[in-house]
C-alpha cells in the first residue's frame, strides 16, 4: 500500500519512526521544538528533541561526540549554506574518526540540510554544495528526489554507522508523491532509473530529476526516448547502474543545479568518460547552472538554473549529433 504525501512530510515521518524504533536517535537544531506542543517534543520529550543556538560548529561537533558513545543524532541544519561555517566538523572530523581510530570509534550521524532554494533566496542561501562532501572518504551523501526516496533514504541514513549528509532540495518541499506504507528503507548507494528509455541517458539529481522527466515527456512527443537515472546517493556513487544505462543508450546528458565545477555531474561525467568511453557515440554533455552566483531577481534566477527548455535543447542536440 502507498499513500500520497509531500516530500517534507516523508522526511519527518522517517525521523519520527526511527526515533520510535531506537531510543538512541535524537533530533536537534535551530528553531526546532521551541514549543511544548511541538509534535516531536510531545512524542519524545525535551531530552531527545532540542532547539539550539546558532552554533553550527557545536551542533555538528556535539553530534560527532554523542555518536562516539552510541547515540545516533539527527541534526537539522536548515540550509546547507549554513554548514559552511562548520565544514571542518563534517569533512575533517566526522568523516575521519572511523579511519583515525582504525574502526574502534564510529560516528553514526545524519546531517539534514536543505539546498538549492532557487526561489529568490539569492546569493548566499540558494546554493548546491554537494562538491564539498562527495569527495570526502568516509562520508555518505544522499540527495533524494521523491517522497519515497526521501523517506527510505532517511531511514537508511539514520541506521547507517557512518556520517551521512542528507541533502533535500527545497524546491521539492511540498511536492507530493506515493510513499510505501511500513518500514521501507531505500539503500544508500543504489541509483534509480526514474524513466527508462533507449536513446539517451539523462543523469540528474534532486529538483533536476523533475525537470529532466518533464523534458523527457516533451521529447517523447518528438520520438526521442529518454532514460532518466537518479544516482540518489552521491557517495557512494552507484557507477555500475549509471554506466550500464550509458552503455545501453550510448549517449549521456548530465543535468545539475550547481555551476559546472561545483556540480556532481562533472565528477560523474569524468567517471563515465573513463569507464564507458567506448560505448559513447557523442561527448558527455553537461547542463548546469551558469557559472555565476544565484541572483535574486526572478528573470535572472531563471536564466541561471537549468530550465526544461535548456535540458530539452541539450538532449536534442546530443541525440541529433
Amino acid at each position: 500500500m502507498t499513500r500520497e504525501i509531500p516530500y517534507i512530510q516523508a522526511i519527518m515521518e522517517a525521523i519520527t519512526e526511527e526515533m520510535q524504533r531506537d531510543p538512541n536517535v535524537i533530533f536537534y537544531g535551530q528553531e526546532q521544538a521551541v514549543s511544548d506542543e511541538d509534535p516531536m517534543v510531545v512524542a519524545f520529550g525535551r531530552k531527545r528533541v532540542r532547539p539550539t543556538p546558532i552554533s553550527e560548529t557545536a551542533e555538528i561537533g556535539m553530534a560527532v561526540g554523542a555518536a562516539m558513545v552510541g547515540l545516533r543524532p539527527v541534526v537539522e541544519l536548515l540550509m546547507t549554506d549554513f554548514i559552511l561555517v562548520a565544514l571542518d566538523q563534517v569533512v575533517n572530523e566526522a568523516a575521519r574518526v572511523y579511519f583515525k581510530t582504525a574502526g574502534r570509534v564510529k560516528v553514526p550521524i545524519v546531517l539534514k540540510a536543505g539546498y538549492g532554494f532557487a526561489a529568490g533566496w539569492s546569493v548566499q542561501h540558494a546554493n548546491c554544495w554537494y562538491n564539498l562532501f562527495m569527495g570526502v572518504p568516509g562520508l555518505k551523501v544522499v540527495v533524494p528526489s521523491t517522497p519515497a526516496d526521501a523517506k527510505g533514504l532517511m531511514k537508511a541514513a539514520i541506521r547507517d554507522d557512518n556520517p551521512v549528509v542528507y541533502l533535500h532540495n527545497y524546491m521539492l518541499t511540498l511536492v507530493p508523491g506515493p510513499v510505501p506504507d511500513g518500514d521501507v528503507e531505500v539503500p544508500i548507494g543504489v541509483a534509480d532509473v526514474k524513466r527508462s528509455g533507449r536513446d539517451v541517458t539523462v543523469i540528474a539529481t534532486g529538483w533536476m530529476v523533475q525537470r529532466s522527466l518533464e523534458a523527457a515527456d516533451l521529447l517523447a512527443q518528438e520520438g526521442i526516448d529518454v532514460e532518466v537515472v537518479d544516482p540518489r546517493s552521491l557517495a557512494p556513487l552507484d557507477l555500475d547502474t549509471l554506466v550500464a544505462s550509458v552503455e545501453k543508450t550510448r549517449r549521456v546528458v548530465l543535468v545539475d543545479q550547481a555551476p559546472r565545477h561545483a556540480s556532481a555531474s562533472a565528477l560523474i561525467a569524468a567517471e563515465i568518460a573513463e569507464r564507458a568511453f567506448g560505448a559513447l557515440t557523442t561527448p558527455p554533455r553537461l547542463v548546469t547552472a551558469l557559472d555565476t552566483s544565484v541572483p535574486y531577481s526572478k528573470p535572472l534566477e531563471d536564466a541561471v538554473i537549468p530550465s526544461v527548455e535548456r535540458i530539452v535543447q541539450a538532449i536534442r542536440e546530443v541525440v541529433q549529433a
Binding site: 549554513f82 539569492s122 548566499q124 555565476t292 535574486y296 536564466a303
Partner: protein, 342 residues
C-alpha cells in the same frame, strides 16, 4: 526623559524623521506581500521596533564612519541617506535596484553612503566590520565602524573570534548587539546561557576584557548617548565596546518560508503564534519607540504640525519608492556574467 540640549532640537527632529521614514518603508515592504503578491521573493526581514537603536546609533557617527549590519538591513541604509527608490527596486528585483536585482532584501549595500553591506549568514558580518576597523587603524585615520548584529548571532564563533581580536588590537569598532529577545522563533533564554541565568548579554564583553553595557534600545537618545561615548573611545584609539541594545521587533522574524507557487506573507510575531504570550507582545507595543519619541518631542515644544509634516513627507516618499520600484524594468541576464570577477 532626557534634558535638552543634547541632542539639539534639529538633531532630535532628524532622528524622528529617520525613524518615521524607516517605519514607513518597512510597512510598505510588508504590504507588498498582499498588495503586489509575488513581487518580493525569498526571505525578507523587517526592523519595525528597531528604529530607535538604528537611528540613535547612526546619529552618533560622522559621515566618514562606516556601518555594517545583517540581512535585517533596510533601516540602516535609510538613516544613512540611501535612496528608498533604489532600495525598494532592489527588494522588488528590478534593474534600478542598488544591485540591479542581483542581491535582494537581505543584501542591500550602499558604499557611497558608508553602508558596506550585510551577510545573510548569521554572525559572519562581524569579522567584516572588524576588518574595516583594522584598515582604519593601519591607515591611521580616526574613523570608526558600527557593527550591528542580533542576540542569536552572539552565539556564533565569528562573534567570539572577532571581539577578542578587536580588543587585543584596540580596533575602532563599536559592536551593537541588538537583543530583540528572539533568535528567529527561539526565545533568547532558550539559546543564550547569560539570558538563561538572568544576566545581561553585555556580560560577554568580560571574556574580551572589553567594556560592555546594556541599554534601553527603544529610546533613541539613550542609544545616541551610549554609542557616542563608545565612538569617542574608539576614535581615541582606546578600542572597542560591546553595547547590548534591548528592544522588540513587532513583525515575525521574516515572511513564511515556502517554495513557489505558494504565496508568501508575514505571520504575526512568534510571541502570538508560538508562545501564546499576547501580554509580552502588548507590553512591548506600549513601548513602541516611535510614538514614545513623538511624545517626548511634543514635550520639548515641537508642534503637532511639524510632526505631521514629517510623517506625511515620509509617507509620500515611500509611496513614491513603491511606485518607482513597480514601474522599473526587470534586469537583463547579461549582467549575470559581468559581476563574477572584478
Amino acid at each position: 526623559m532626557h534634558p535638552l540640549p543634547y541632542p539639539d532640537r534639529e538633531r532630535a527632529l532628524w532622528i524622528y524623521r529617520q525613524m518615521v521614514r524607516i517605519r514607513e518603508f518597512e510597512e510598505r515592504v510588508k504590504r507588498t506581500f498582499t498588495e503586489h503578491p509575488g513581487m518580493i521573493r525569498g526571505h525578507t526581514h523587517l526592523g519595525d521596533g528597531a528604529e530607535a537603536t538604528i537611528v540613535g546609533a547612526i546619529a552618533a557617527i560622522r559621515p566618514d564612519d562606516y556601518v555594517l549590519a545583517t540581512y535585517r538591513c533596510h533601516g540602516y541604509l535609510i538613516a544613512l541617506g540611501s535612496s528608498p527608490r533604489a532600495m525598494m527596486a532592489e527588494i522588488y528585483g528590478k534593474a534600478t535596484g542598488l544591485s540591479h536585482g542581483l542581491a535582494g532584501s537581505m543584501h542591500l549595500a550602499d558604499p557611497e553612503h558608508q553602508f558596506l553591506g550585510t551577510s545573510g549568514i548569521v554572525g559572519q558580518g562581524i569579522p567584516h566590520a572588524t576588518g574595516v576597523a583594522l584598515a582604519i587603524q593601519v591607515r591611521g585615520s580616526d574613523q570608526v565602524v558600527l557593527c550591528f548584529f542580533g542576540d542569536g548571532a552572539a552565539k556564533q564563533g565569528a562573534f567570539h573570534e572577532s571581539l577578542n581580536i578587536a580588543s587585543l588590537w584596540k580596533l575602532p569598532v563599536v559592536y551593537i548587539l541588538e537583543n530583540n529577545l528572539y533568535q528567529a522563533v527561539t526565545r533568547v533564554e532558550m539559546e543564550d546561557a547569560n539570558a538563561a541565568a538572568g544576566e545581561p548579554l553585555s556580560t560577554k564583553a568580560r571574556a574580551y576584557s572589553m567594556p560592555g553595557v546594556t541599554i534601553d534600545g527603544t529610546d533613541p537618545i539613550a542609544v545616541l548617548t551610549t554609542v557616542a561615548n563608545a565612538v569617542e573611545r574608539a576614535r581615541r584609539g582606546e578600542g572597542p565596546t560591546l553595547i547590548e541594545s534591548v528592544f522588540y521587533r513587532f513583525s515575525a522574524h521574516g515572511n513564511i518560508i515556502v517554495p513557489p507557487p505558494v504565496p508568501l506573507h508575514f505571520e504575526e510575531h512568534e510571541a502570538l503564534t508560538i508562545y501564546q504570550c499576547a501580554d509580552e507582545y502588548e507590553q512591548w507595543r506600549q513601548r513602541d519607540p516611535i510614538p514614545r519619541f513623538r511624545a517626548w518631542l511634543g514635550g520639548i515644544g515641537v508642534s503637532e504640525d511639524e510632526l505631521v509634516a514629517i510623517e506625511s513627507a515620509a509617507r509620500e516618499e515611500m509611496d513614491d519608492a513603491v511606485r518607482f520600484a513597480l514601474e522599473s524594468p526587470w534586469p537583463e541576464p547579461d549582467i549575470l556574467q559581468r559581476y563574477v570577477y572584478a
